[in-house]
Symmetry: C3
Subunit: 343 residues, 3 copies
């Protein structure tokens, strides 16, 4: 942001209608309805914050036209305030101090090819044959293996590790300590011990993929592990070898997808979900938090497992009965049968 | 420890009563009751080790007065042996070989301000405007973003990543590969794809917080993610954007706290627990291992979910019945109703 | 692989019988039955791919003698095709561009002892008193603490952190961002706050252990945390202080083993399993995915917990009944008692 951003300028930039008493005060940032000051913008999307809307002191609020009457300050009208918020938020990203260019301490193999305008941080290591596209930004202390391909405008935060042969599409964002291309967990057991199976595939990642901090994606055993276009993966997710994730699916934090499983397009895998190996999940499936997917899912919908939370004293009694549940079922059937004979 | 530590010296240092036949042998370390040699100290706290107490060969044992009669060697008496053990353990920490000072390979932005006595390891990168307080120790290969604040006496082990604008209180300890300040997982969906919401908040961490290896704490979307004073977080914990954790709470390994949830003070979140988003947990709550908190908790107490472990053959039969549980309930009610009519 | 590898050469190398129409085409790689080209080898092990066997275009297939009749191309016969595949896979591992030797940017304490032939990547830091055996390969940006011991032929990928006093057996493989030797999570509570217990033990790891990306193994409180010979640990596993894992056991991704627990030999801990603290699991136990082990297991076998997956609508009804399960049990007993009185 080089010049001051007023409500009028913002409305023009986003193509939104500005309604109500607006000011020329330059906007200095975004804030929640409850905390916004008169030089900050806010947005209204979630009904649980309706009281905050009525009392906000923001310079203006992005909201749906039907809520304008409840807003005491200027309104920016849109049918999708959350999307408008996403767009506005990008205008307030602070620039990093990092200078464009390759840091003197970076260790780059002579055979690697870097576009002219890439940013390479301190202590970065780039292997032989790697190709780094235009506009890429590689954070400090990243290690990029041989023959990796970073398409244009990728952003790697600090301490990311790419093993050899990892391919990223355009505009991918990888957060700190992510590891892509580590060996799949493959062993053949013989004679009471495990023999390592070399993992000869790679990892292929589509355009516009975001990968969270500490997330690991293993390379394929033979073919590639494949992450589709527009997939968003949160922190500390584990994706095993040969997995395929369909376009525009979302995987939330701490989920684990075991080997050779397939997740369809437009799926939402909530946090701490487990998917066992060799399972196929069709398109448009949502799995709720901490569920275990231990079978194929071939019908779109919402799926869950677990027991729900309870006070531990009650829970202890109930888990004893859970272990007797099949017995309970059989005794119930016997009662019904005896009733039938009596009637 | 510069001079030899005898039992007498230790008793004086900790203000404990020394009882029984003590020796002048310098203590070389701490050990369990079962393995301690005559130049090592031990402690007795957990009744499961009572037999070990009776046969220990330690130089001395830290214990409660009522157990002194069962101890064959010298006793150091205290009402809280576990606390005394914590204090004694600090006396036996080995010094690191790291020299105080800034390593020649560290890359420090000229605008960063470091106290005179800080230790900065090899290949550390410190961004513009960062402030590093007195007595801080930053391990090798850490990356510290612009405008971070490390208050006095923080210890960062190797390979830690702090994004920009992370603030640590005094005496914080961050273990290797921890990531603080990564982007929260926020997207607006429109037109079948996800649009990134810039994460404009920071992370604010109180005094005396310890953060485990590989743990990730995301920055807030607008306001800060906040970790209270004295909070202890184990390895591989995921804390999403906007979460607030109250003072003196503990979060054990592999737990995941989803976005905007609030954990009260003095809570204990056991290992591998999941907390869904927008949940509030009041003060003084314990959640047992691998439970899912999918609703607010407004009463102090102990909470659990899950089924308890079983032999897989039985378990398979019971999970079939779990899916019929509501049907079982309804059939049971119908039987009771028919009984009522018959009587 | 310096010279071309034909089917004949491969059969000789592995001591397998070659049957059927073989060619002299040099093999360029391994592939699945469905995707293999005429210059690639494949293998048949899992019956789910039987149709692919019948139509494969591979140069040859490694399989059991009884399946040779179904194979349209040359066969390499063995009783354990999966093991043969593991061995063959090693022949196709691509060489890294890394030159043998110590990179100029590595920071190695003068008191560390390195064998002549070790490879040390860029920006590696090695502490005082560390010993690195012959044939070891240490990836870029690793940090190795004081007094660590790497026995011969260990491979550390990039960004691994070893705290001080970690001992690795021969031929260990550690993947990127693994952390070994971080402090155990030990505190004594007193006066409403937690006091840190210094973690004075180390970590002792046997021969032929593989440790996945992002996995953390804490040092012991007093004695060592111990990982047995031949143990294979997947990505993002958390192993707490004082844990002991028996020889040739396997721990899959995202599992968490809490403090002082003991896992026997030849166990298989599937993905996302939790083991609470102070639990003992005997030899030859399998725990299925996402189960919680909250009690000792003293009989070999297969163990599980959880509810199995369901459509969320049904699941919501059933978890309500789960909280009434003990009540259901009691009402069932009362009906049976009343029946008994009536009869």
């Amino acid at each position: 942001m080089s010049k001051p951003l007023t409500l009028q300028a913002l409305a023009a930039e986003l193509g939104l209608e500005l309604r109500g008493a607006s000011t020329d005060v330059p906007l200095v940032g975004l804030a929640t309805l409850a905390t916004a000051r008169p030089d900050q913008l806010s947005f209204y999307h979630n009904p649980r914050y309706h009281a905050d809307l009525r009392s906000t002191q923001a310079a203006g609020v992005v909201l749906r036209p039907e809520h304008a009457a409840d807003c005491p300050v200027a309104c920016l009208l849109t049918d999708n305030p959350y999307l408008a918020y996403a767009r506005v938020s990008q205008l307030f990203v602070r620039a990093s101090s990092t200078t464009v260019g390759v840091h003197a301490t970076a260790q780059i193999d002579p055979s690697a090819r870097l576009a002219d305008d890439v940013t390479v941080g301190a202590n970065v290591v780039i292997g032989a044959g790697a190709v780094i596209g235009t506009g890429c930004h590689i954070g400090a202390n990243c290690v990029i293996g041989d023959d990796c391909l970073l398409s244009d405008n990728c952003l790697l935060h600090a301490n990311v590790t790419l093993y050899h042969g990892v391919r990223l599409g355009k505009r991918c964002i990888l957060h700190a300590a992510a590891v892509i291309g580590s060996d799949g967990f493959g062993f053949a057991r013989s004679g009471g011990r495990y023999h390592k199976i070399a993992q000869l595939g790679g990892v292929s990642i589509g355009d516009d993929v975001e990968i969270g901090a500490g997330t690991c994606i293993d390379r394929g055993a033979l073919d590639d592990t494949v992450i589709g276009t527009g997939v968003k993966i949160d922190n500390q997710v584990q994706i095993a070898h040969n997995v395929r994730v369909g376009d525009h699916s979302v995987i939330c934090g701490c989920s684990a997808i075991a080997g050779s499983s397939v997740i369809g397009k437009n799926c939402t895998i909530a946090g701490a979900v487990g998917v066992v190996n060799h399972v196929t999940i069709c398109d448009d499936v949502t799995v709720t938090a901490m569920s275990l997917v231990n079978q194929d899912i071939d019908t779109p919908g919402v799926y869950s497992s677990g027991t729900g939370l309870d006070v531990t004293g009650n829970w202890r009694r109930n888990i004893v009965r859970f272990r007797q549940l099949d017995d309970i079922w059989r005794r119930l059937l016997r009662i019904e049968r005896r009733e039938g004979r009596r009637d």
